[in-house]
Amino acid sequence: MRHVAVRFLVAVVVVVAAVGLHADGPATPRQVAASAARHVVKIYGAGGVRGLEAYQSGIILSPDGRIATVMSTVLDADDIECVLDDGRRFAATLVGVDPRRELAVLSIEATDLPACDVEAGRAGPGTRAMAISNLFGVAVGDERASVQRGVIAAVVPLEARRGAAEAPYAGDVYVLDFTTNNPGSPGGALVDARGRLLGMLGKELRSTASGIWLNYALPADELVAGCQEIVSGRVATTTGPTAAPFDLRALGLVLVPDLLGRTPPFVETVVPGSPAEQAGLRPDDLVVAVGARAVASRHALEMAVGSIVAGDPVRIAVIRDGRVVDCELGPRPEEARP
């Protein structure tokens, strides 16, 4: 089943690239905007508290309802809803996530959807682009997602930002010269002047050093590779809609339930014989850091552990009886599924 889906994704990339909008010569910006906006969906899920929006954007990858989006707290909901460009509403299920690229694939029960036309190659600096997203939740129902225009300013590794901005992904991104990464924008489409998909708008990312917000998109090749890995099950994959990006149970760590958006990461129980027990972790420990990264919530802890490359050691600092205790859990397991 998974292999069929993988082949299908590849087929989309090749076939659509051959019969896209550009086959008939240059299109007007009106045509490109109208055509490309059909591939962008509005996604509604968890959130709505200060600083955390309950909505984002997604891109229709296949006519049978595969939708790519950014892995975020919005997807931590029992009910995820996708609203298409034509106003149709669908309940979505989470197929899986790629914690490294902060990517998620959703699935909706639909057929004959307007799947997007993917540009397989990398675009260079100076490429004109349009960004289409559900920014600020301005558009509702059948109202078209918002369209912005600018150019790709640079193609650089996001790793250059590490330490300054919190992102597990360290590969190339398109840095954009226009303000694309707004609340609700993550998961939106970046298209070229002919409407072909160049990439997917990333999350809101701010330099902790300079306070500057970064506008960037994940290039299409990375997007497709990540989606293929998710669909094929080569990365942390879950079937339930409340999937966490990384299942801490693989380390033998059971935390208190994530009832609030910012539940502190208290240890509830430690699985006997697990790496967590061997490292000396105990119930009621409060996890405060993973490696050098401070974690204030259960969600942040999952994200931090999820971004550790499989095979690398997991180091966790906890507070116990008012003192910080360092614990070494050994290498992160390859397969995180239970």
Partner: protein, 558 residues
């Protein structure tokens, strides 16, 4: 040193540029050149300032309510010609965030070419011209280029004011100070008035998401703004909800509303409003938000499986007292309001009149005088003394109406009615069932012969569509001037076309009820000043009678 290197001959080798790029650049430069002269920089001293756009040769400029609110009635404006001009507040629309000001001190001002904002589509090139961060101390506008990101957008109000409906969303930079300035299309024609942006967590600087009030909304409000009024927005008297199957249905309705009297009920589907199809709650609010209170608009509904076309009179969102409070100058924070009124500049003195319900009642007088002159000019050739209207009803029977200064008589098959002008008209709503046709005709004659001054307390109300049944948002329609009078115990609206003809009268003998609606029509080529050839009288959506005026053919005589 670096500069010197870059200027060396080797580095100065010409870069080949596609001629189409240079051409596109030149086109944009020319469009900006066309839009620049009408761009106003508004300076309001300590109260900040903003931008504006000149719309008429005689100096009327539109801006945002939130720009003029702290400025008060007088402000200083700069134009790109390098001169400063005094300006005076004319009218405000707190809900729609619009304001009209008049620049002074020049016979003829440059003004913007205005495009139909409903012709704008997502992806269209656009640019803003204005005074962001009040940088325009040299009076030259700042320009930001972008594209239209969304059309027919809805942005929630702050309380009950500053609601952006059916607005344009653009990625051209709109920053504090751009407020009130123009959004122009690729040809340099005005398509919107910039006034709002989504900021949220990044502070008050543009993040590629700004909003402009559509020029179509501005067009709808020009008349009521020119009246010097504190304008109000409209409500249908009903709220709507989107049903599970995607229909917009009435979820609540006031039984005192005109919509209720026209037959709108709970769970009725709103199919279209003012000529535009309504499929979402936002679409409903978008249409409604572009319309002034008091207009009549067509509403198509589906009720019990049956499609019906109504014409509904829109009510005000606010009470008069609420509106006055909303329009008031905010009290400066942290210090007591200055009890001594600000000294007005010499040019503005004499152009300001404070009166209840008005931003500046002086301009109401100006417009009322203009309409009075227009009526007087049309009167010259017309009949004086008693007016005799004779002919046949639409149903075939003969009628006779006589109107004099002191009395009026109507003879129709259902009987003869008489009105005496010495008694209050609200006690004489004759003929029975008309809601006051005879008082309406007597006052119509008085307005034509003696002008607005003879109609008791009369103000200039603004403008309204000449034919509400045909009105469509997004399509320019024929507008007429409206006077509002209170006389002899009745309230009336009289409608005057561009040639000075009084083409319609709505008369209320009791507030909150259906008025008697009288509509006059003239045969093609009828001389100005002649009596109409057709008069329709309606009440509450039902026809009372149609009077076809003319000699009664002998063979059809009584």
């Amino acid at each position: 040193m670096v500069l010197a290197c870059s200027l060396s001959p080797a580095a100065a080798a010409p870069v080949p540029i596609d001629p189409s790029v240079l051409e596109a650049e030149q086109t944009m430069v020319e469009a900006i050149g066309r839009a620049t002269p009408s761009t106003v920089a508004i300076f309001a001293g300590d109260s900040g300032g903003g931008s504006g756009v000149l719309l008429t040769r005689d100096g009327y400029a539109v801006t945002n309510f939130h720009v003029v609110q702290p400025a008060g009635v007088a402000m200083t404006c700069g134009l790109p010609d390098g001169h400063l001009y005094d300006a005076v507040l004319v009218g405000v629309d707190p809900t729609g965030d619009l304001a009209l000001i008049k620049l002074l001190g020049r016979d003829e001002f440059p003004c913007a070419a205005v495009a139909n904002s409903d012709g704008v589509e997502v992806g269209d090139a656009c640019f803003t011209a204005g005074n962001p961060f009040l940088l325009g101390t040299d009076l030259q506008p700042s320009i930001s280029v972008g594209i239209v990101s969304g059309v027919h957008r809805y942005q929630f109000p702050a309380g009950t004011i500053l609601e952006y409906t059916d607005c344009l969303q653009v990625d051209a930079a709109i920053n504090p100070g751009n407020s009130g300035g123009g959004l122009f299309d690729a040809e340099g024609r005005l398509i919107g008035i910039n006034g709002r942006a989504s900021f949220e967590k990044r502070g008050r600087v543009n993040v590629g998401v700004g909003y402009a009030i559509s020029t179509n909304q501005v067009r709808h409000f020009m008349g009521v703004l020119r009246a010097g009024r504190i304008c109000d927005h409209a409500t249908l008297g009903a709220t709507v909800a989107t049903s599970a199957d995607g229909r917009v249905v009435v979820s609540d309705i006031l039984e005192s509303s005109d919509a209720w009297r026209r037959g709108l009920r709970y769970d009725d589907e709103i199919v279209s409003l003012a000529g535009r199809a309504v499929r979402t709650g936002n679409a409903f609010k978008n249409v409604l938000g572009t319309l002034p209170a008091g207009w009549q608009v067509p509403v198509v509904i589906r009720s019990g499986g049956r499609r019906r076309e109504l014409v509904v009179r829109l009510a005000s969102v606010h009470s008069a007292a609420d509106l006055k409070g909303l329009a008031a100058e905010p009290e400066p924070e942290g210090r007591r309001p200055d009890p001594t009124p600000r000294e007005l500049p010499a040019a503005v003195r004499g152009l300001v009149e404070q009166r209840q319900g008005f931003a500046n009642a002086h301009f109401n007088r100006v417009e009322r005088d203009r309409v009075a002159a227009s009526i007087a000019a049309a009167r010259d050739a017309g009949p004086t003394g008693p007016w005799l209207l004779e002919g046949r009803l639409g149903t075939g029977e003969a009628f006779r109406i006589e109107l004099t200064d002191h009395a009026a008589t109507i003879d129709i098959p259902t009987g003869t009615s008489t009105l005496v002008t010495s008694d209050d008209f609200d006690r004489q709503p004759v003929p029975p069932g008309s809601g006051g046709l005879l008082p309406a005709l007597v006052l119509w004659r008085r307005l034509v012969l003696e002008g607005p001054a003879a109609l008791g307390h009369t103000i200039y109300w603004g403008t309204a569509p000449r034919d509400p049944t045909a009105f469509q948002v997004g399509t320019p329609s024929d507008m007429v001037d409206v006077l509002e009078s209170s006389v002899s115990g009745v309230e009336l609206h009289t409608f005057i076309d561009g040639s000075g003809r009084v083409v319609a009268v709505d008369l209320w003998t009791q507030p909150g009820t259906d008025p008697c609606e009288v509509r006059m029509a003239w045969a093609e080529g009828a001389p100005l000043g002649s009596l109409p050839t057709r008069i329709e009288a309606r009440r509450g959506g039902d026809e009372f009678a149609t009077f076809l005026i003319g000699p009664v053919p002998a063979e059809m005589g009584p």
